[in-house]
Amino acid sequence: MHGLVVEFDDPRRLVAACAKVREAGYRRWDAHTPFPIHGMDAAMGIRGTRLPWLVLAGGAAGLGAALLMIWWMNAMDYPLNISGKPLFGLPAAIPVAFELTVLFSAFAAFLGMWIANGLPRLHHPLLQHEPFRRATSDRFFIVIESTDPRFDPQATRALLASLGGLAVTEVQEQIHEEGAGR
């Protein structure tokens, strides 16, 4: 079993339910909604990410790489006098340094986000779960994964059932047979 899912038709109930799941001390769980909901981060207890530090480091690396590259190419490896300017003139180096700072920051942000989220991932058990299809239109879900240290088939099911949702269902780890022949 991948985990247990509870389904809601009202975002306010979902937010309240998330707070209860958080208070129960679960770690490996998530909420799925068709649109962003204010107050969700607080209810779920989502903390800030360390990604900004990675982006800052990426930017600094880009800045350093650009300045070193220009200095090495223009002033050391192949000194080239361009209209009497210094071999390494900071004003001339700044546009490239700026661009590489931005480029490396963007790389760090994009790739860092992928790595932090375990992407690319081509399949997820939830995508096989029939009720979950409405998560992109009009239903709101909480999923508690079975790998959570506090997960207990009976107790977790009881907790989810107490949250005032529509139905609690199991999500299977394995791909359903019906899709195999196509």
Partner: protein, 405 residues
């Protein structure tokens, strides 16, 4: 857990009330006293008030840039249909309404035109007779004054439009007025861009009539726009300290102030560098002379102060989410940015008066106090006329419940 609580207008004071009158009186007294002191100092120098006029010009340009920042903030909010800013929009309307009164504060410069602007004197020192004759159709006192009359007429018209329409909505609650302000804001932005660029060139660039820069208008705007957000931050915090707008303006709004200050700090540096790099690369005497003066004998130190203090340090200081949401840090950076914008304008204008040393002193402080006192008096007086919040704006609830994702 329930839904996030949306603060109510009745939770706090949303009128300036008696504080407006006290600030108006206080500002006027400070303005007049500092003006008297500055004039006395200026007359004592026996230079036909030349130093006084330059000092005054710097501080005038400083507060002009704040109010122009306010004037362009308004149409930007409307064309983007922004909701976050609705709760603080009235403060901005008031800051923009200082523009008609700033016209009066330009008089000391206009009355002493020959001492300030070389092109207005019969024999310009730094222009050849041919060049002076070539520039005369544009750079002559009459046309200069005409341009300022036109600039201030357009700014007054725009500021009055937002101020009146927004207050009418306070009374009537007519939602069509919002649409009216949206519809007029596109053309308002174009008018602003033209007049602001022209004003920047006239006020500051023509101090050195031989020098020219096509990006100068953007440079002036960028510095002013950062400083405007800094002033708005401090004004909002000041009002909250007196028990006004409490809870209505939250960390979410201050976070946005911080984002805008951060972004336009970089924008200013980007523009400043764009101007510098082209002239550095081209290396043509008539273009580099302006920078040569500003890189030597004391002015170079101010230039470095700007590169570090107006860009690099606040850029790093405001980069994190934490700094933007921490009131004390944000207040510190807002004050820092205001000081830097003043030095920015000082570095642009003052070397024309004194190319060989930095004459920073009491006269500059008195002029800053005087223009600042008058500016504050005007916005306090106007701020007391209406509610501090556009109470019937259709997007106000959205603004009050605003959250950064």
């Amino acid at each position: 857990m329930t839904e996030p609580q949306i603060p109510k207008l009745t939770d706090t004071l949303i009128e300036l009330g008696g504080l407006g009158t006290r600030l108006w009186r206080g500002g006027l007294i400070v303005g007049l006293a500092a003006l008297a002191g500055a004039l006395a100092l200026g007359l004592a120098a026996g230079d036909h008030l030349r130093h006084f006029s330059f000092s005054w010009l710097v501080s005038f340009a400083f507060f002009l840039s704040l109010s122009l920042g306010a004037l362009v903030f308004l149409p930007i909010q409307f064309v983007t249909r922004a909701s976050w800013s609705v709760v603080i929009r009235r403060l901005v309307e008031v800051m923009a309404m200082a523009l008609p009164f700033l016209a009066l504060l330009l008089l000391p410069v206009l009355l002493n035109l020959r001492q300030v602007y070389e092109w207005a004197s019969p024999q310009p020192q730094h222009l050849t007779p041919e060049l002076a004759a070539h520039k005369a159709p544009f750079l002559n006192p009459v046309f200069f004054v005409v341009r300022w009359v036109v600039n201030f007429a357009i700014w007054t018209w725009l500021a009055l439009f937002y101020w009146r329409t927004s207050r009418r909505q306070d009374r009537t609650g007519d939602q069509a007025l919002t649409l009216r302000m949206v519809n007029r804001s596109g053309p308002a932005l174009i008018l602003f861009a033209l007049t602001c660029s022209l004003a920047a060139m006239d006020l500051l660039m023509t101090l050195d009539p031989a020098w020219f820069s096509t990006i100068f208008g953007v440079y002036f705007f960028a510095g002013g726009f950062v400083a405007f957000h800094a002033a708005l931050t401090l004004i909002t915090m000041g009002l909250q300290r007196t028990g006004r707008l409490q809870r209505l303006v939250s960390a979410e709004h201050f976070h946005d102030y911080g984002k805008l200050m951060f972004a336009f700090t970089f924008f200013w540096a980007y523009i400043a560098f764009s101007q510098y790099m082209l002239y550095w690369y081209g290396n043509i005497p008539e273009e580099t002379l302006w920078y040569l003066v500003r890189q030597s004998s004391g002015w170079g130190a101010i230039g470095l102060l700007l590169a570090g203090g107006a860009f690099f340090v606040p850029f790093l200081g405001l980069i994190s989410r934490f700094a933007k949401r921490n009131r004390k840090l944000l207040a510190f950076w807002a004050a820092w940015i205001l000081v830097m914008q003043w030095f920015n304008l000082y570095w642009v204008a003052m070397p024309v008066f004194s190319p060989d040393h930095v004459p920073l002193g009491l006269l500059d402080a008195l002029c800053l106090l005087s223009v600042g006192g008058f500016w504050l008096a005007v916005i306090a007086k106007l701020g007391a006329v209406a509610s501090l919040v556009p109470v019937n704006d259709p997007r106000l609830p959205e603004s009050l419940g605003f959250e950064n994702a």
